[in-house]
Amino acid sequence: MSSEFWIPPSRDLPSGRTAARAQHLRAEIAQGPRAGTGRKRLAAAAALVVVVAAALLATPAFGLRDRIVNLFAAEQPERQRPPQLIKRLFENMFDARPNESTGVVADKARVAIRLAIPGYGHQTLWVAPTRAGGYCSNVGCNRTRSTPFRVQMQIAGPTSTNSSPQPGSSNQHVFILGDTSIPKARGIAIQFEDGSFERTPLVWVSKPIDAGFFLYVLPKSHWKPGKRPVAVVAEDTQGQRLAGDAQVGSWLRDAQRSGLAPPPKEFNRLWLIVPFAAALLAAAALLAWRRLRC
């Protein structure tokens, strides 16, 4: 047998060690599980994660809250009888051409998208078919599908869809919504002034509506100049541009000029100098006082 593969000899534990280890084992298992440092560390790490997550979510400047709301708040389109208010909304819509009815079938209105937004409620995008083969939604009517891609911006108040936003109040919500009847459209990209973009899903509603709808909550981080939206683009599965709308940027700028959706205030870093300067002054005063005493 090669020296490498002899069978290692079987040995007893050193003298007295079996008894010592057995005694130790008995003592350990008799007293039950102790609160180990591992658990303490785990608890500390969990607490740290919670604190950091809370801080990130609570800080509007990061804009994370809006994203997370978007992530969890999207609900599946539901089939339900439209409330009277919605039916009236559709019945009172007018076609772009004067004296021409939209021909909307208000009884067949249904929810395309519904988002739950904390501190606001729900934002719902209703859709209804028209007799001419088109559809109407909160955005308006596309009676004969003559417009393949439509975009609208809405600014809503703090507590309900009916309350008007107060100019200057930061407690507002900006929605970018719209629809497309381009069959290849599979997603929507919102492009921003800084060159970045975000994608939002397109919810395709089956026939007779047969169109895609989107509803995007514009994060407050994108209310800032330099980061505002400049265009909304419909894309296919490959991310290729199918249609676009560049009016959204001017809408937000106009709204901000009238005091709506004000840009979040930047934290002035100069304020950081104040405590530093105060500490420096205090140290200088202490030094001067000591010298005077001497």
Binding site: M1, S2, S3, E4, F5, W6, I7, P8, P9, S10, R11, D12, L13, P14, S15, G16, R17, T18, A20, R21, A22, Q23, H24, L25, R26, A27, E28, I29, A30, P33, R34, G36, T37, G38
Partner: protein
Amino acid sequence: MELDDSVLWARSAEGDTGAFALLFERHAKAIYNYCFRRVGDWSAAEDLLSIVFLEAWRRRGKQLPPGKVLPWLYGIATNVVRNRRRSERRYRAALARVPAAEPAADFAEEAVDRADDERRLRHALHLLAKLPRRQQDVFVLCAWSGLSYEDAAFALRVPVGTVRSRLARARDALQELDRLEGHGPTEVPHTEETAEG
């Protein structure tokens, strides 16, 4: 009358620390040697032995088929050795309470033998380390610790056929490695399926 492992295990599951201590005394040597064969250090093997049994106590609710307590302990030992750092960290506080070894008067000769074991095992582990971890497990369990294929399969939670094939591959690979390193034909320990665990 000596109680069967399964009876002791059942009592342990009910919280009988005395029954568990009996299991320890019965199998400490086997697990101690197995740990040594995996790490090549008698002192570390002693600590690993304690960890294996503390871990077994933690999992005492596990239902075991008759006659499978020792293979199951081997399975725990395999995991403990594989995750050695994590295991030692978990039981660091418990290990710190182990009473210190008292110096033995006529220990010198045995110490030399043990040092020799460690030296020789280092060479073997050096070759063994070149095998996939799963083959190492099977080789040490079957060829060095004498577990049957069935018990090794239970310990490692794999089918018996897998144990057979891994062991065959491990033997072939070790012979080849040994030949390449210039030691000539190697007699890798042969294991019968009926080998005693």
